[in-house]
């Protein structure tokens, strides 16, 4: 009932083009930021209700990290229309890049390491994006599988990448940012949380502003019809490769965080297999193709749902874990089909429709 743009006058261009033009949206955004930056860390520090570590590890960290990755994939699939099944491989690049950087430059701040890993992943992404200039649609999707399998194989076989360790695993040493430890066994839950949160907010902010600017519009032009876009003067080479590069940059950051902050130790086939690529794709579809907000809620949904299902089936009904795992598959599959049938544009579209209705409320039209 307060959700109106009427009376909210814009007197400058800057105000006219702001991300949240409606006052209530803006307030909601700042409230969420305040909760995320102040309330949740305080609760973690005070350990409200006990189990701060459980909450951080089971829900908060995976959510933040997958949200970063899913924003990355959404730029490629949702905005630029290039279907990719290689995101697990790109996350592995980020993870191994961060491992090599962490062990080679022990004094470097982890923040810089994560960004550098993203940059390295961007390079690899551009390399594997090159065929997209010739190959389109499903053919491209299968071509990106080459990236997935080749990269995983490479990190398995080339010992230099895991510093010749006997187990073939990589494990994150303790590294800190501004004196706070964020990786390694001794890092506190709130430090890890805040570190990932800062990166997510940064990534979302950059992505949001990229997608509504010139570069984002050229991505969408390529997505809608690449030949027509080329005719009106959008350079396909630059546009497609920039989408691959920026998308891989974010996915690389997510991969680095997933390994260094969340897992702590990883084995490439298990941590970054093809399953992860599909999981990420599901987040993007369920959240909404072509929406930054959608990527975030898609990630939240796919992280929360298994935890919830597991709690209900194993915790409440005392079912065996393998049956619960099979049910999870059934649920995820069914949900994806149902979503595609009811709302192909995902949760973000539902949110948009709801806001549209709220604006008109209490009138039907």
């Amino acid at each position: 009932m307060f959700y109106r743009e009427s009376g909210d006058f814009k007197t400058t261009y800057a105000k006219d083009t702001q991300t949240f033009p409606i006052k209530l949206d803006r307030m909601g955004y700042y409230t969420i930021l305040a909760i995320a930056f102040v309330v949740i860390p305080t609760m973690l520090v005070m350990n409200v209700g006990g189990g701060a570590n459980y909450w951080t590890n089971a829900i908060l960290l995976p959510f933040l990290i997958w949200a970063i990755a899913s924003i990355g994939l959404n730029i490629l699939v949702g905005y630029c229309g290039q279907l990719s099944l290689g995101s697990g491989g790109f996350m592995a690049v980020g993870a191994y890049a961060s491992y090599k950087l962490m062990t080679s430059f022990p004094d470097l701040s982890i923040f810089i390491i994560v960004l550098l890993s993203g940059a390295i992943t961007a390079g690899v992404g551009i390399l594997f994006g090159l065929p997209s200039l010739r190959i389109k649609g499903f053919y491209l999707a299968v071509a990106t599988l080459a990236a997935q399998f080749f990269l995983v194989w490479m990190f398995n076989k080339v010992q230099w990448f895991y510093n010749y360790s006997a187990s073939g695993q990589i494990s994150a040493p303790t590294r800190s940012v501004f004196g706070f430890e964020v990786t390694g066994a001794t890092a506190s839950a709130e430090a890890k949380y805040l570190f990932c949160l800062v990166l997510l907010v940064g990534v979302a902010w950059v992505a949001r502003n990229l997608t509504r600017g010139r570069i984002g519009r050229s991505w969408m032009a390529i997505r809608d019809m690449d030949i027509a876009a080329e005719i009106i003067g959008v350079a396909p080479l630059k546009t497609k490769l920039s989408a691959f590069g920026i998308s891989s940059f974010f996915i690389g950051i997510a991969g680095a965080l997933f390994f260094a902050v969340y897992l702590g130790a990883a084995e490439v086939g298990e941590a970054f297999g093809i399953q992860k690529s599909f999981l990420l794709l599901f987040m993007v579809i369920i959240g909404g193709l072509g929406s930054i907000f959608g990527s975030i809620i898609g990630a939240a949904f796919m992280v929360l749902m298994p935890v919830l299902l597991k709690n209900i089936m194993v915790g409440q009904l005392n079912w065996a874990t393998d049956i619960a795992a099979h049910f999870e598959f059934v649920f995820v599959g069914a949900l994806i089909i149902i979503f595609l049938i009811l709302e192909p544009h995902g949760l973000a579209q539902l949110w948009r429709l709801l806001k549209e209705k709220l604006r008109l409320w209490p009138f039907p039209h």
């Binding site: 065929p131 190959i135 071509a143 099979h326 599959g333």
Partner: protein
């Protein structure tokens, strides 16, 4: 002739037969893609599900036994009878046809006129659903599938060719692979005959060519879809039997579907002969690569070689070997 030469030939022959196994999965993809434009990611899981159903029926398992036990506290396991293989195959085929009806009725019907990418994602969802459903229905342990096909190496061939060169112990070819090749040839021949000489087959081709035009001359799209998905289910059953007999009925069977993708890309999404030739190229290519170069770079190159080969190939010929030329209009 040196022993190495014969070993290379053996590798090629084995590669050809592995390739035929890939083609079996790829065939199902092509059938569905041609008739409904759906890129059916679930084909591999369909093969797994078909094989599980076959084993389940054969050994008289109670469907959903685990689930029923856990809910009602019973201890169901098996009915206590064994169904003869042939009848079990017929029953499994009926299950796959029923599955085709369900897919058409509850999924495809609602997704008409959506983007191909949406349909593709729906089949990924379907794959997940079937994977979980199959495990719930028949249990997730590795099962042995025995339909009476001969197993192991062919002794006759091995002893007949031994001693052709110094240090060569004869060709080692798997009986099952040879059977699979023969069955694949029969399957492809009958599919081609079906689509060329029967009324339904012609209707299928009409829909594949232009579904709007086919609709306007009175071909029911929904019936065609059910038929195509049933056919794909049949192909999946054959592929499931072959792969299941070769390496046991287990989860990794569904990953073979992924291997069928580069096969499709090489052959082109719309060509049945393409699926066969593509499968053979991939099969021979990856075996030869592993044989010749694999040892120098750490082995296990079969994991990615097919994809990279397909990728490089597509850069030069984006529609695959036999695919229709992609014409884009603005």
């Amino acid at each position: 002739m040196s022993a190495n030469f014969f070993y290379t030939i053996e590798v090629i022959a084995n590669g050809l037969m592995t390739g035929v196994m890939y083609s079996l999965v790829a065939l199902g993809f092509v059938l569905i893609f041609k008739a409904s434009g759906v890129f059916n990611y679930a084909q591999g899981v369909m093969a797994l599900f078909a094989a599980m159903t076959l084993v389940g029926i054969q050994s008289g398992q109670v469907p959903f036994a685990h689930l029923i036990n856990v809910i009602f506290g019973t201890h169901l396991d098996k009915f206590g009878w064994e169904v003869p293989t042939f009848i079990a195959i017929i029953l499994a085929l009926l299950v796959m046809i029923g599955f085709a009806f369900i897919v058409e009725r509850y999924i495809l019907k609602h997704l008409v006129n959506q983007d191909p990418i949406i349909l593709f994602m729906a089949t990924i969802g379907l794959a997940y659903f079937m994977e979980g459903f199959g495990d719930l229905m028949w249990g997730s342990e590795i099962k042995k599938l025995d339909v009476g096909l001969p197993q192991g190496g062919n002794v006759w061939l091995e002893s007949a060719t031994a001693g052709w060169a110094d240090g060569f112990y004869g060709f080692y070819l798997d009986n099952l692979d040879m059977w699979a090749t023969a069955i694949a040839i029969v399957l492809v021949a009958s599919l081609i005959a079906f689509s060329n000489y029967t009324k339904t087959g012609r209707a299928l081709r009409a829909v594949a060519d232009d579904n709007q035009a086919a609709l306007s001359v009175g071909i029911s799209l929904r019936t065609i879809w059910v038929i195509v998905w049933s056919l794909a289910g049949f192909v999946a059953l054959v592929a499931g039997i072959m792969w299941g007999a070769k390496s046991g009925v287990q989860f990794s069977l569904s990953l073979i579907a992924l291997k069928a993708l580069p096969v499709l890309m090489l052959g082109g999404f719309t060509s049945i002969p393409g699926a066969i030739v593509g499968g053979m190229i991939i099969g021979v290519g990856e075996k030869l690569f592993e044989f010749a170069i694999g040892p120098y770079i750490g082995g296990a190159t079969e994991n990615w070689f097919a994809y990279v080969l397909a990728l490089l190939f597509l850069v030069f010929r984006p529609q695959g070997l036999f695919g229709e030329k992609i014409i884009e209009r603005v």
